[in-house]
């Protein structure tokens, strides 16, 4: 298989790239890792007339924390960079858990987090993770930069709010109020398959072991990524207890809209959502207790 014909540009600056997108109109696509776009083009599901490859644009391959704890991930940061990241391992348990579960190791060498968010596949793992953390996407265009909350970034399967001349340059995760806990669990038939069920849980726990913020994102159990708002709400304002964890797990399962398919029955998938929420939160509680013991 090979893509239909397209013009290819590999600019060396963001301004140049944005100019090319502006001139390319609706028929231009940005190429970063290419691990979703190239397969789509080969299958002719996507047939852009212009491909703007941003791999030669300097200064987009980074992930770093601002002094206030805000995490910034550049558009050319590969999944593998995040998988190996000491910063994520020590400060972002949900992201650190998800990174090694994206696709397979070879795809992770090229694919990018920001590209995955833009691709807006309802089965994508990063969208759930970034949603659970209350993150956003920074987009740049001739009109300047704007920050788009992830909750309003995706408009439908494979659709996002970016204008044709906008490039998503960065993903942003806001700082935690308290200590972060959480995780990502994914049920897949084999490595590299789409998630049968994926669950992202992110909680922030204050000194008094009270949950100050909670977010739960679900992958693969609906036509789009699902934010389990009610489930997260029952966790906040109190310590994690077996009761609150059980209640959140039930509400997350209720928020799922799974369909029976070759990966499993709707009932099974819903049950796995509940199980995963419980497992992640039970683990969060344990790791928080351990931290607290060490600190004491």
């Amino acid at each position: 298989m090979y893509p239909s014909r397209f013009r290819y540009e590999a600019p060396h600056s963001l301004d140049e790239a944005i100019g090319m997108l502006r001139d390319g109109g609706d028929y231009a696509k940005v190429l970063a890792g290419g691990q979703s776009l190239v397969p789509l083009m080969k299958l002719r599901f996507a047939a852009p007339e212009l491909v703007v490859d941003i791999n030669n644009v300097p200064g987009l391959a980074y992930h770093r924390a601002d002094p206030d704890g805000t995490l910034r991930i550049g558009a050319l940061t590969r999944h593998a960079d995040l998988e190996r990241s000491e910063l994520l391992r020590t400060t972002q348990p949900t992201m650190a858990a998800a990174a090694p579960l994206i696709a397979d190791p070879i795809v992770r060498n090229r694919g990018t987090l920001v590209g995955s968010l833009c691709h807006a596949d309802p089965q994508g793992d990063w969208a759930s993770v970034v949603l659970s953390l209350g993150g956003s996407v920074v987009a740049q265009s001739p009109r300047g930069k704007r920050t788009i909350p992830m909750s309003g970034f995706v408009t439908g399967p494979f659709e996002n709010v970016l204008d044709p001349d906008e490039i998503a340059v960065e993903a942003v995760i806001p700082p935690a109020r308290g200590q972060r806990a959480g995780g990502y669990l994914k049920l897949e038939r084999r490595v590299g398959d789409f998630a049968t069920v994926g669950v992202a849980v992110a909680v922030e726990i204050s000194d008094g072991s009270v949950v100050t913020r909670a977010g739960i994102g679900l992958t693969g159990v609906g036509g789009s990524t699902i934010v389990a708002t009610e489930a997260a709400a029952v966790l906040t304002g109190k310590p994690l207890t077996p009761e609150s964890i059980g209640r959140a797990a039930d509400l997350a399962a209720a928020a799922a809209r799974p369909r029976t398919d070759h990966r499993g029955s709707a009932e099974y998938k819903r049950h796995m959502v509940k199980t995963f929420v419980e497992r992640i939160l039970a683990g969060s509680n344990r790791s928080y207790d351990n931290e607290a013991e060490r600190a004491a």
């Binding site: 014909r5 691990q35 190791p105 795809v107 060498n109």
Partner: protein, 176 residues
């Protein structure tokens, strides 16, 4: 290089310029003129006639087409040839010298790491990327590193053994 494509009728009106790219493959410097839509796997197999790199699924799943780009394992069916411009590519043909097999190749022979052989070049290149970064991997780390490569014959047992065999040999060579 000249490639012949099926005329699907949908793209005859689009005339796109060829692009000249320079790259290194298995240590040799090359220049090529390619259509932007040419995939790296096709450049390697048809343009360079290096048919050790196999295309299996052609859908980014199987890993048979795995090559190293600047030392990092990449599925060459999922990268455009134009993107190789300025980069260093290694294929399975770059493993052996004129007189000696690479320890990975020896390992696959010693431990019976292949049956039909179709996945083998991709397995070896993915394993090379692993061993370059981690000369003393555990069995678990080998399995993890090869989890993007499918084999339908061996059940993976002997592939894992082969890679561990090669790791051992490379370490003892390095110690000499």
């Amino acid at each position: 290089m000249t490639m012949v494509y099926d005329d699907l009728g949908d793209e005859a009106t689009r005339d796109v310029p060829l692009r000249r790219i320079k790259f290194t493959i298995n240590g040799a410097k090359k220049v090529a003129e390619v259509e932007p839509r040419l995939l790296l796997a096709h450049l390697i197999r048809h343009g360079l006639r290096l048919t050790g790199t196999h295309t299996g699924c052609d859908t980014t799943n199987c890993g048979a087409c795995t090559v190293l780009v600047d030392g990092s394992a990449v599925k060459s069916c999922t990268m455009l040839a134009v993107q190789a411009d300025g980069h260093d590519i290694e294929t399975v043909e770059g493993l052996a010298t004129a007189s000696e097999l690479h320890p990975l190749q020896e390992g696959f022979r010693e431990e019976h790491g292949l049956q039909c052989g179709f996945c083998t070049p991709g397995m070896m290149m993915a394993a090379k990327a692993l061993l370059d970064a981690n000369p003393d991997p555990t069995e678990e780390e080998v399995r993890w590193a090869l989890s993007g490569n499918l084999c339908r014959c061996t059940g993976y047992q002997n592939i894992v053994k082969s890679v561990l065999w090669a790791a051992q040999k490379l370490r003892s060579q390095a110690a000499e």
